[in-house]
């Protein structure tokens, strides 16, 4: 999924205390997911990849960094709606993303509603502008 939506980011260094307590910077789990999205096509990313990262950092990503997981989905949804339509392939990708990130229906509905609202407003604004331009053009030609 490399549509320049995500960019690879360097992992954080372990702090002194993290080394002492044998901890990994948990934010690195999110960074690794981000890097996964930035480097691989979406369908090549499996739930196992996510699970292995979770195991590595001993973290439940959805529980700890749920907002980041939602953001990954929201960013991709927003990208899909750039052309104001969702094609079958895009729908399949979103469904896969939902599955990989383990997001529930309620969260998905919420994100669709939030992003959809933004897209709808954009369409509405553009339509109003076109209608105003069309009306102005008609009156101009009438007068001519």
């Amino acid at each position: 999924m490399n549509h320049n939506l995500f960019k690879t980011t360097n992992l954080s260094q372990r702090s002194f205390f993290q080394k002492i307590f044998k901890q990994y910077p948990q934010e690195n789990a999110v960074i690794e997911i981000n890097n996964l999205f930035a480097s691989k096509p979406l369908f090549q990313i499996s739930k196992d990849n996510i699970a292995s990262i979770e195991n590595k950092y001993r973290i439940n990503l959805l529980k700890e960094f749920g907002l980041n997981m939602e953001e990954f989905y929201a960013v991709y949804l927003n990208y899909c709606l750039k052309d104001k339509t969702l094609g079958a392939e895009e729908l399949a990708e979103l469904k896969h993303l939902k599955f990989v990130l383990n997001l529930n229906d309620r969260t998905i509905d919420k994100l669709h509603s939030k992003i959809g609202e933004i897209v709808y407003k954009q369409i509405l604004r553009r339509s109003s502008f076109r209608w105003a331009a069309y009306s102005a053009g008609r009156s101009f030609f009438k007068e001519a």
């Binding site: 320049n4 702090s15 307590f21 901890q23 960074i31 700890e64 980041n68 953001e71």
Partner: protein
């Protein structure tokens, strides 16, 4: 919920108001837990303040209180960049607490020792105070004893012995008021001794002493009276009258008697008058004198006036 910011490039960002937060939020704890943490923190902070004289304990208890506070927990995670798990927190807290125990024991012992020393010092001070009070009481008792003895001897006219007792008493006088009282007593005895000389008729011996006393106590009526006696006895009536004058003004009866004795009222002829036979007087000296008053009974009747020799 935690949030890792800055991952999504600016051009791809959506819903910035919704996707925000920090990777180190406050630990998710329920109200009861939170209350317990705050209570624990408060207890340790109070313990830290209570041990403000022992900085190590203040530091240790303060640190335990700090890690118990949710704000302290977040601060540690942010600044030291690690997960301050309940396990680490418990171990860290326990280590701090266990470290504090020998210090508590040490300071308790030190405090106990200090309190004991303070008690001993106080007791010593108290004993010294009691001893000083006792000594002071003994001093006062000695002073009063010699003063009373002097007063008794003075009553029985043993003035030299009384003066000796006053000298002994002087060894026990420390305050100004006591020294003044002793001086008064000494002067009183000396005055009485001098008065006894007057009574014994040793006027010349008594006179300089009385003059000395009067130089110190000018208005003393007894001294003036006795000196007047001395002066009168050695023939210096004028000086005696001078000494008696202030006493006469104040109505001193003894002085009046002495004054009457040494400087009595005397009579002398002031002038003469012509006495008529009806008892009247006439200024005329010729034939018509007392012509309407039964004639002249005495041509030169003297008129007397009273005076004192020493005015």
């Amino acid at each position: 919920m935690r949030y890792m910011p800055g991952l999504i490039p600016e051009e791809s960002k959506v819903l910035p108001e919704y996707f925000k937060g920090t990777p180190y939020p406050a630990p998710a704890i329920n109200k009861a837990q939170s209350l317990l943490y705050y209570l624990g923190a408060a207890i340790f902070f109070i313990a830290a303040i209570f041990n403000i004289n022992h900085p190590v304990l203040t530091l240790l208890f303060g640190a335990i209180g700090f890690i118990l506070l949710p704000q302290g927990h977040r601060w540690i995670e942010e600044k030291l960049r690690f997960r301050f798990t309940a396990k680490i927190k418990s171990v860290f807290g326990a280590v701090l607490f266990i470290t504090a125990i020998p210090f508590v024991a040490h300071y308790q012992e030190a405090d106990k020792k200090a309190a004991y020393q303070l008690q001993i010092r106080k007791e010593k001070e108290e004993q010294e105070k009691i001893a000083a009070e006792k000594k002071e009481q003994q001093r006062k008792d000695s002073l009063n004893f010699y003063l009373q003895a002097a007063a008794g001897l003075q009553e029985s006219s043993k003035f030299d012995e009384a003066l000796n007792n006053i000298s002994y008493a002087a060894n026990f006088s420390t305050t100004e008021s006591e020294k003044e009282e002793l001086n008064r007593s000494r002067n009183n005895i000396l005055a009485l001794k001098t008065f006894s000389l007057v009574k014994k008729g040793k006027y010349k011996e008594a006179l300089p002493q009385l003059t000395d006393f009067l130089n110190a106590d000018r208005g003393n009526s007894q001294l003036l009276y006795n000196r007047a006696i001395c002066y009168s006895k050695i023939g210096k009536i004028h000086e005696a009258v001078n000494d008696l004058r202030p006493l006469l003004e104040s109505g001193n009866e003894e002085a009046q008697k002495l004054h009457e004795k040494i400087n009595p009222l005397r009579k002398r002829i002031a002038y003469y008058v012509t006495r008529c036979c009806d008892g009247t007087t006439s200024d005329a000296k010729g034939r018509g004198a007392c012509s309407w008053h039964g004639g002249v009974c005495n041509w030169n009747e003297p008129v007397y006036e009273e005076y004192r020799k020493y005015e």
